[in-house]
Symmetry: C2
Subunit: 291 residues, 2 copies
Amino acid sequence: MSKIVFAYPGNELMAKSIRNGLDGLWGEIEMRHFPDGETYVRLITDVLEHDAIVVATMHRPDDKFLSLVFMLRLLREAGASRITLVSPYLAYMRQDKQFKPGEALTSTYFSELLSPFIDEMVTVDPHLHRHHAMSEIYTANATVLHASHTISSWIKASVSNPLLIGPDSESEQWVSKVARDAGSPYVVLSKERHGDRQVNISIPEIDTYRNHSPVLVDDIISTAHTMIETVKKLLAVGFSKPICIGVHAIFADNSFQELLDAGAERIVTCNTIPHGSNSIDLSPIIIKALR
Amino acid sequence: MSKIVFAYPGNELMAKSIRNGLDGLWGEIEMRHFPDGETYVRLITDVLEHDAIVVATMHRPDDKFLSLVFMLRLLREAGASRITLVSPYLAYMRQDKQFKPGEALTSTYFSELLSPFIDEMVTVDPHLHRHHAMSEIYTANATVLHASHTISSWIKASVSNPLLIGPDSESEQWVSKVARDAGSPYVVLSKERHGDRQVNISIPEIDTYRNHSPVLVDDIISTAHTMIETVKKLLAVGFSKPICIGVHAIFADNSFQELLDAGAERIVTCNTIPHGSNSIDLSPIIIKALR
């Protein structure tokens, strides 16, 4: 029984790393769009009684979901003995509570739609805020990996005298972990959120760290507004240009350029979502989890 | 118990016709996209123990599916006593057979994904080719409506001395019906398909009809390649510019303009998919089915 690794379109780099790391086989699947926008899927590799591993990161999930489910179901029908979804970035983890009456609890809706098609899931730093464990929402067996140790290693190798900075209290849980592994001090700022796109940030007393290299760390960079505001305030109080590290490089609209323009020295992300800023390779921890 | 009519975004015109025709209530739902591409859905109207009717036509289904399912599930959780999906154009009806080994049977996959979220479906002229009845693939109770009678009425009112022309043998079943209701003669051409985008068409002996106004009729206009080839051949053998009628106005890429450029006198479609060419209103037959 071999492990056969399939790439959902756009996930070829990560899938190839995983295939190589597992010494697995490469799964061929044809996926294309008809002129009317419907998706055609055809499985070419025989998966009967083999483990199928599908690599499909889920940023911008709405237009991917249906074709991914077609692919997963096709593998099931073709007799794969086990289907593992490697989704380094997992979508719909943020609407985990009804903030207003009538809101769809999409974290639950999404997980319940996806779960029947997979036996196991591997993901990296899902946005577990009010949910504390993946098992609260996913019926499939979910393995949650953390980027913090790999990020720490990158910081130790690449930045001298770093000061780690978490942009808000939500980031504390894992900025503290990155700092501990990197042997660096850290501070966490406070943030007030006003709607989806506007945030205000207050900087605590950090005169102590003026000679450090500021390294901003956050899990998801989406609009980058939080990072942009933080960068501006750090510069305003006399810090040097910070390195900005994110696990998940969503970068909505023109936010990557806006973050550079705001004064980021460099933007570094993990390869959970393919992006030009990917410099921290998480395939080793994913491969280890899949063994 | 009232009928409450909801529009999936983009379906407001048809939904308002249906609401008016049923003397129903208007359902308010908020749907917007976060910067990261995820969808936020919030139900504003109380649906507890009411019938909810959701109008959502399904052209370009991949990016609509997830948010539509969120909306349907939210209505269920809010206690709607019955959920009816009005999908004047229904997607994924064409991959109804494995033409090559390993192909996903997406007509079945799609119907099985959607069915649990609805009690009833109303659709117009779904592409039933190898499947003969909707009940073969949809577990929800499906009402299939036909545009032919309404198209016939439009032709009788708008075209003098029409000759109806079906572009291929698949279209015969219902071009013949349109012709009978319109009291017009009809011919059906033969077509050879080479891949998704290329077709050749042969024209039978039609000298008899040189004084008629040619009216091409087909169910789906997607790439419009079939219609374009037919128009060209009709013009080449001396016909006047034909009127082109389609039920479902998909119009992939630049196909609407290409069909005009090829020599269509006028392009007329039913309003199953919102498009500038919609001139044949099917809301009366939909309203009748929903009563």
